[in-house]
Amino acid sequence: MAHSDNEHAHSHGHSHSHSHDHTEPPPELELKVKALESLLVEKGLVNPEALNAIIDNYEHKVGPRNGAHVVAKAWVDASFKEALLADATVAVAELGYFGRQGEHLRVVENTAHTHNLVVCTLCSCYPWTVLGLPPTWYKSAPYRARAVSEPRQVLAEFGTTLPDKTKVRVWDSTSEMRYLVMPVQPVGTEHWSEERLRGLVTRNSMIGVELAKSIDDNSEQA
């Protein structure tokens, strides 16, 4: 199995090639995939242009910016937020986001007392319409195993520490319901425009492993 984790700078001397084996795939695997594609095309079972369109859609058209749009709008628009929490599928469709892996969407709101975290222990269910495809770690065995049993340790690995009193609610996506976390709006951004707020809403904050960027985080990057 190919193994390259040099860019991740792991300090734990632990082998976990299975979730990071991407920079140099074994040549036999690449060949196998190419051969399968040729076979399917030759048999007329797939249209090569359809394959390219699918890839382009998920690589360039849908992604966490959709979700950031949804969350930022909910922060500035109370009636949209109410509609979103009541029926996210409908509210989000009105912004133009609908389709596969977003047919039954639910938005769960973080508050001062409750923090939500989303996982799929059985596979990799994820709200594609608003977040795009899931990151590698979300699909990895350690995350799927541990998010339900030790969520606070998992959060700590993302640098997220919650007050002891905060209740953690972990959503295991076992059905076709899809969950999107609405992070708490950062302090001091009350008068920001929706456009500007979008920049604070990270993918990880909408999965629930991190909080939205604070003003300080944001200015560091700017």
Binding site: H18, H22, V33, E49, G63, R100, R152, S175
Partner: protein, 223 residues
């Protein structure tokens, strides 16, 4: 089945080691793009549904499932389905050379149709004329179910006591859908306290809860 995929609560798997969000590409290699697209495109042929697709991945040997990278498991899944549904033969896969047995009667989506299918999605909510067995607030136990087929009742929840938090209505029931039977069952969100799932160790000093979406046949009354 409690295969290699049923990971909730498994231990010894190490840290998560996420890539920084700003640096992570959608795909990490060209072959991943191709496997992803082939999986969606062949799924659009209508020869199998999402639960059959999941079952094809999770019925691999657990050692293979855990050793494979994510898209290697997807590759194993479509190979398994293409053969079991008779679209491709074992020999063709082995030789990876085209033969007859073309897809004359199948509709092969072009780029535009593929994007339309993606944009439409496939809702799983179904009408029902039965009354749900459980009400919001009921105390229930997740059954112990040692089925050989596909199921979405995670092993870690089995035998634990929870509370019905919401009724999502009837949704396609995966255990039957994976066998090609399109029937609905009530789907509930069930709230489990950490201590109900994991006992009094670990993080139970905190008030953690796990919400699991469970179909009615997975649940029994608990007095």
């Amino acid at each position: 089945m409690k295969g290699g995929h049923d990971l909730g609560g498994k231990q010894g798997l190490g840290p998560i080691s996420p890539e920084p969000e700003s640096e992570e590409p959608v795909f990490h290699a060209e072959w991943e793009r191709r496997v992803f697209a082939m999986t969606l495109a062949t799924g659009m042929l209508g020869q199998w549904n999402i639960d059959e697709s999941r079952f094809a991945r999770e019925s691999q040997h657990p050692v293979d499932y855990l050793k494979n990278s994510y898209y290697e498991n997807w590759l194993a899944g479509i190979q398994n389905l293409l053969v079991s549904k008779g679209l491709v033969s074992e020999e063709e896969l082995a030789a990876a050379c085209g033969a007859q047995k073309a897809a004359a009667q199948l509709i092969i989506p072009n780029a535009q149709e593929a994007l339309r299918i993606i944009g439409t999605g496939g809702p799983t909510r179904m009408p029902s004329d039965t009354v749900p067995t459980f009400n919001i607030g009921d105390t229930v136990r997740a059954k112990k179910m040692h089925t050989k087929g596909h199921s979405r009742l995670p092993a870690y929840a089995q035998g634990s006591i929870g509370i019905i938090e919401e009724n999502y209505g009837c949704h396609v029931y995966p255990d039957k859908n994976s066998l090609g039977e399109h029937v609905g069952e009530y789907l509930y969100r069930v709230r489990f306290s950490s201590s109900s799932l994991w006992g009094s160790s670990g993080e139970n000093a905190y008030e953690n809860e796990v919400l699991i979406d469970l179909w009615q046949p997975y649940l029994e009354n608990f007095e």
